[in-house]
């Protein structure tokens, strides 16, 4: 780890001032540090200055507003989401998305904002390889050890998005509130997270002088019911092989709103819009769920070692859709 300067701020506006003083990218915010510190230690980022935003208490809250929408401060920890009885009752999908994320120690430190901004876990990116995502020319994942790779092709990089929380947020039509020197803007999580491109080799769209302050979830999304299912290669402390977030609203026996979003199948959370379209307006049955699950994986182009993710995604989708409608049982 290179030596760096470390300063602490008490509020978002102080952080933005400090970021503005930094020379575009040389200054970094640090929240829980659970992703940033490993990146620093491995030399993958080398900022000259870190701004600790943890003392900014105003950014740490879970608030249901009168209109039924939810606001989550960027510094809220995954553990706080996990422990919230209100969320367990009103928004089980969100709570479920974090309970198997990382480990209890990490969840106690990991923040919602940091979770959306965590970098790829691809081992070519993290390891001593000059991969495309780090500025090189080759995605080693394509022809290499790709059992954890994306099955949907979104560009030059084949790394799979690691977050469990992000697909849940996309399924809930969440937006991100961002503050910068020019004021605030709001953008859907589904757009905030975007595949890396030649010019922007990161999985999110945030300028170096901006920060995330809040996540908002609209009331109409909360009105439904949902689940998050995560397949892992051990029973704790593992990134998803595939995760599936489903949130379904049923009115008068028919599906009124449906969202199905995967983690770990693409560069960013993958929304299965074709599957959603099949569900809406229909009575949800096991057969329909299976059809929707088939539609969800259409277009997948697996590599040599990640073909298993296709049936896995299909099965998790089927189960998640049924479970969101309380139709899932052991005998399905």
């Amino acid at each position: 780890m290179r030596p760096f300067e470390h300063l602490t701020v008490q509020a978002a506006d102080e952080a933005i001032q400090a970021l503005a003083g930094g020379d575009g990218g040389n200054t970094r915010l640090i929240a829980g540090g659970t992703d940033l510190l490993p990146l620093l230690k491995d030399g993958l980022v080398n900022p000259g200055r870190l701004i600790d935003i943890k003392p900014a208490r105003a950014l740490r809250h879970l608030t249901f507003d009168a209109d039924g929408s939810l606001r989550i401060g960027a510094l809220t920890t995954l553990a706080e989401i996990e422990r919230s009885s209100q969320l367990a009752e009103r928004l089980p999908l969100l709570r479920q998305s974090v309970v198997d994320a990382a480990t209890p120690q990490l969840r106690a430190m990991a923040t919602v904002g940091g979770n959306l901004l965590q970098r790829s876990r691809c081992w070519y990116f993290r390891g001593p390889f000059d991969c495309w995502l780090k500025g090189g020319t080759v995605c080693y994942m394509r022809d290499g050890e790709n059992k954890y790779a994306a099955i949907f092709d979104q560009g030059p990089c084949r790394s799979a998005h690691p977050s469990d929380l992000a697909p849940a947020l996309v399924a809930l039509d969440a937006t991100v509130s961002i503050s910068g020197p020019a004021g605030s803007r709001t953008t859907p999580v589904a757009e905030f997270l975007a595949p890396p491109t030649n010019d922007e080799r990161v999985e999110y769209r945030l300028r170096p002088d901006e920060m995330v302050t809040e996540i908002r979830i609209p009331a109409e999304a909360i009105a439904g019911h949902g689940v998050y299912l995560k397949a892992m290669d051990r029973r704790a402390w593992a990134f998803a092989l595939v995760g599936a977030a489903a949130q379904v609203t049923i009115l008068d026996g028919k599906v009124a709103r449906a969202r199905l979003v995967f983690s770990a199948v693409a560069n960013v959370p993958w929304r299965a819009t074709a599957a959603e379209a099949l569900l809406v307006g229909q009575t949800l049955t096991p057969d329909l769920a299976a059809q929707a699950a088939d539609a969800a994986i259409a277009g997948a182009s697996p590599l040599a070692h990640n073909g298993y993710k296709v049936p896995l995604a299909r099965e998790l989708a089927r189960r998640a859709i049924l479970a969101a409608a309380n139709l899932w049982t052991e005998t399905n």
């Binding site: 030399g43 390889f129 080693y140 050890e145 397949a231 051990r234 399905n332």
Partner: protein, 777 residues
């Protein structure tokens, strides 16, 4: 005491060697099945539990000496390369950096175990050592490794063993003209005529088992701290053998053995990979001498997982022939070992095939390839874990082919005698293990509909039950010595040269001594992990610690107690053989009178300490001593996601007398958990195109977590093996890991109606198995 020099035999991980030992005095007669005990056999918390859980225990990792410097290694980012340029000047300019060592300035430092320089300019695998930085803080040292300017000339490499053995393969090491270990390979063992027996057999099957490279991932990494006092060297080494470490360090530094002291008070796991002082310990000593300050070099996790050894990958191909009634007629096994860049031996993967079942026609062929990967190291029952998995899966496949219950098939082919030397086993309780385990797991209902399909036939869950057998040596042997001292204050000190590698050695040795002395456990202190006492004990490996050192401690305690009663008898004017000592209090056996605490007598001796020696006697000849056992696993497979959950494991092992049921159980549990990792989650992953290890860390190399651990039922047989040694104990370190992967593989095979051919059974593999069509009924 009369001195004798005796020749005896010692088995270590499948190899029998002849050893000559000096013995003084006579061992006491063996504890019989009816010997009454006060301390032995009672569940006893570790004597050092408090230190361990509060962090007071000082591991090598924790050693902090005034002025101590820290080292960090720069590791090869190539599978095979020559260093064409190395410039350390920028690294030397990093604040706090004291030295950078490489082949340029330390090329003459030789590792005595390989005879080769510690720093070469040809790097043989990803993770091979390029250079070592020594700095004031660990952070400075690590950072400075990045500042070393190195140019590498990549060389052709090979990582797959069959490719390495093919004609025209790239040479793993340009200085060695062949990729095999030696001209002793292929190694062939033969009895009878396998081909003829296979040709005539009524039923034949072929199976295959590929096992992965597993990394030890000891919680404490390899390494040590070194400090010089003039020409005397002290090394705090994370080692399983302080005496071996001393020998290695003395040879490497050109010192007489008496000038080196090795200390290992607490040790955070080794599992066979820490039998010596390791290159890292030698480097700490080397750098410390150069710099005149204490130096610590503990590997970081990445270095550890690239350069501290592995359970090497195996590919096993079995051909079995049998009569319709199940009688095994032929067993052919071909193994390919991948021993890594500097491997000089191969593991006894074929041992179970040679020995476990009665079979007149057996052939095993071992081919071994060196490759451009990290070198193998012994890993808890090396070879036998893999070999049992391969053989026991083959036996299950044969049972299916025969339409026979697989346990019945095993009983049918039970080997009464040790077939390799045609001599008896001292004892073989394998049939008891089968019976008890089968009863506990409910073997007879394993095919019941409601058991196999917990969610009904249309549901996604399948349960299966499988088992595997275990065999292992573990009878230990000489030389192993102990000294017992009875201090005036009524406490006792037991001194041995063994080390407690985390198994509870301190505790069980204290129990043995307390038992024989008639002292309460708290009054016995065990000193170990230091060469300075000169009380030799073997390394803690091969499941031989208790069976070697325990009898020596017992003899020392017996002799000390004899002297004690002698002394008290003279002081109290009572016949020595009428005296009994219980709870460190003296009683007259005849009158029942209490005669006061031992210290009331010992204090009268003007500071004299009663000192007695004990040593492990020779092993029995003309008989093979083994531990046998069996594990039964119940698993639940989610056929939609490929997830395997182990529900329960029943473990029945004959490890002789159980000195401490608590430490015994923790060995069994630990072995099972490690075996479960091998079966389900753990594997080193190599990008074969690049020759690079993808997961040299604890995040991507997946050891089981607490949630992966099933219900574990341990059956304590607790039958003393009186042929083995005077305690009747056998090792329990390795036995419990041996059958776990095979039992789980067979349980998954049973659940899915398929034969497992590869470990670990990760969800992707299970989903692949489910999508292939070869069913078995």
């Amino acid at each position: 005491m009369p001195i004798r020099i005796v020749t005896t035999h010692l088995e270590f991980e499948g190899q029998v060697e002849e050893v000559r030992v000096v013995l003084e005095g006579e061992e006491p007669p063996a504890w019989g099945p009816d010997t009454p005990f006060q301390v032995v056999g009672k569940p006893t918390a570790r004597v050092d539990a408090r230190e361990r859980v509060t962090g007071a225990a000082e591991y090598s990792y924790d050693v902090q000496l005034p002025g101590m410097l820290t080292a960090a290694g720069l590791r090869s980012p190539h599978p095979h390369a020559r260093i064409s340029r190395l410039d350390a000047s920028s690294a030397l300019a990093v604040p706090g950096v004291r030295a950078v060592y490489s082949h340029l300035n330390a090329g003459d430092f030789i590792n005595p175990s390989s005879g080769k320089p510690v720093f070469g300019n040809e790097l043989l695998y990803h993770g091979d050592l390029v250079a070592l930085v020594v700095a004031e803080t660990p952070e400075q040292a690590r950072e400075a490794t990045r500042a070393i300017d190195v140019a590498y000339e990549p060389l052709p490499f090979v990582t797959a063993p069959d490719a390495a053995l093919a004609a025209n393969a790239p040479m793993v090491n340009t200085a060695v003209p062949s990729n095999t270990i030696s001209d002793e390979y292929p190694q062939v063992y033969q009895r009878g005529d396998v081909e003829a027996a296979l040709a005539q057999a009524e039923v034949t099957i072929e199976t295959r088992m590929e096992t992965p490279a597993a990394l030890h991932n000891s919680l404490e990494t390899h390494g040590g701290a070194a400090s010089w006092d003039g020409s005397r060297l002290t090394v705090w080494s994370s080692t399983q053998g302080v005496f071996g470490a001393r020998q290695q360090a003395a040879a490497a530094l050109g010192l007489p053995m008496t000038a080196v002291q090795v200390i290992t008070q607490y040790m955070g796991g080794g599992f066979g990979s820490k039998l010596g002082v390791h290159r890292s310990g030698l480097l700490a000593a080397y750098a410390s001498r150069q710099l005149g300050l204490p130096v610590k070099y503990m590997l970081d996790r990445t270095e550890e997982n690239l350069d501290a050894g592995n359970r090497p990958p195996s590919v096993q191909a079995y051909r079995l022939g049998a009569a319709k009634d199940g009688t095994l007629a032929a067993l052919d096994l071909a193994v390919i070992h991948n021993v890594g860049a500097n491997g000089l031996w191969s593991s006894p993967v074929a041992l179970p095939a040679k020995e476990l079942y009665q079979c007149a026609n057996v052939r095993t062929t071992d081919r071994a390839a060196r490759t451009n990967l990290g070198t193998l190291a012994a890993f808890r029952a090396p070879g036998v874990v893999e070999g049992i998995a391969g053989l026991e899966v083959a036996i299950d496949a044969l049972a299916t082919e025969l339409g026979m219950d697989s346990l019945e098939l095993r009983r049918k082919n039970f080997a009464e005698r040790y077939q390799l030397l045609d001599r008896p086993y001292a004892r073989k309780m394998l049939l008891d293990c089968y019976r008890i385990g089968a009863e506990r797991i409910g073997w007879e209902t394993r095919d019941a509909e409601e058991r196999r399909y917990p969610g009904g036939r249309s549901g996604h869950l399948r349960r299966g039950i499988g088992m595997a057998s275990q065999l292992w040596g573990g009878d230990g042997g000489p030389p192993a010595q102990a000294i017992a001292k009875l201090l005036p204050d009524g406490t006792a000190v037991i001194i041995t040269g063994t080390q407690d590698i985390g198994t509870g050695t301190r505790t069980v040795l204290a129990q043995i001594a307390a038992e024989e002395l008639g002292y309460p456990l708290e009054r016995v202190r065990v000193e170990l992990g230091e060469t300075a006492h000169g009380v030799f004990s073997p390394m803690s490996g091969g499941s031989m610690t208790l069976a070697s050192v325990g009898p020596a401690v017992r003899m020392a305690a017996v002799e000390a107690r004899k002297e004690l009663t002698e002394v008290i008898g003279q002081l109290a004017e009572a016949p020595a053989d009428a005296l009994d000592i219980r709870n460190a209090t003296v009683f007259n056996r005849e009158t029942g009178a209490e005669m006061g605490g031992v210290s009331t007598y010992l204090e009268q001796l003007g500071g004299h300490e009663i000192t007695a020696k004990g040593m492990r006697g020779p092993n029995a000849e003309d008989v093979t001593v083994r531990t046998f056992g069996a594990q039964f696993a119940e698993v639940e497979v989610d056929i939609g996601t490929g997830a395997v959950r182990v529900v329960r494991i029943v473990a029945v092992h004959d490890c002789g007398r159980i000195i401490n049921p608590l430490t015994y159980s923790s060995q069994i549990e630990g072995g099972i958990i490690q075996g479960l990792g091998f079966a389900l989650t753990e594997q080193r992953i190599v990008d074969e195109r690049l020759g690079m290890v993808m997961n040299p860390n604890l995040g991507d190399y997946k050891a089981p977590t607490i949630r992966d651990i099933p219900q574990i039922d341990i059956v304590l047989l607790n039958e003393p093996n009186v042929v083995a040694n005077t305690l009747g104990v056998l090792g329990a370190g390795e036995p419990p890991i041996i059958p776990t992967p095979g039992a789980i593989a067979n349980a998954v095979g049973h659940a899915l109606g398929k034969t497992v051919t590869r470990l670990p059974l990760t969800p992707d593999r299970v989903l692949d198995m489910l999508s292939t069509t070869t069913e078995r009924s």
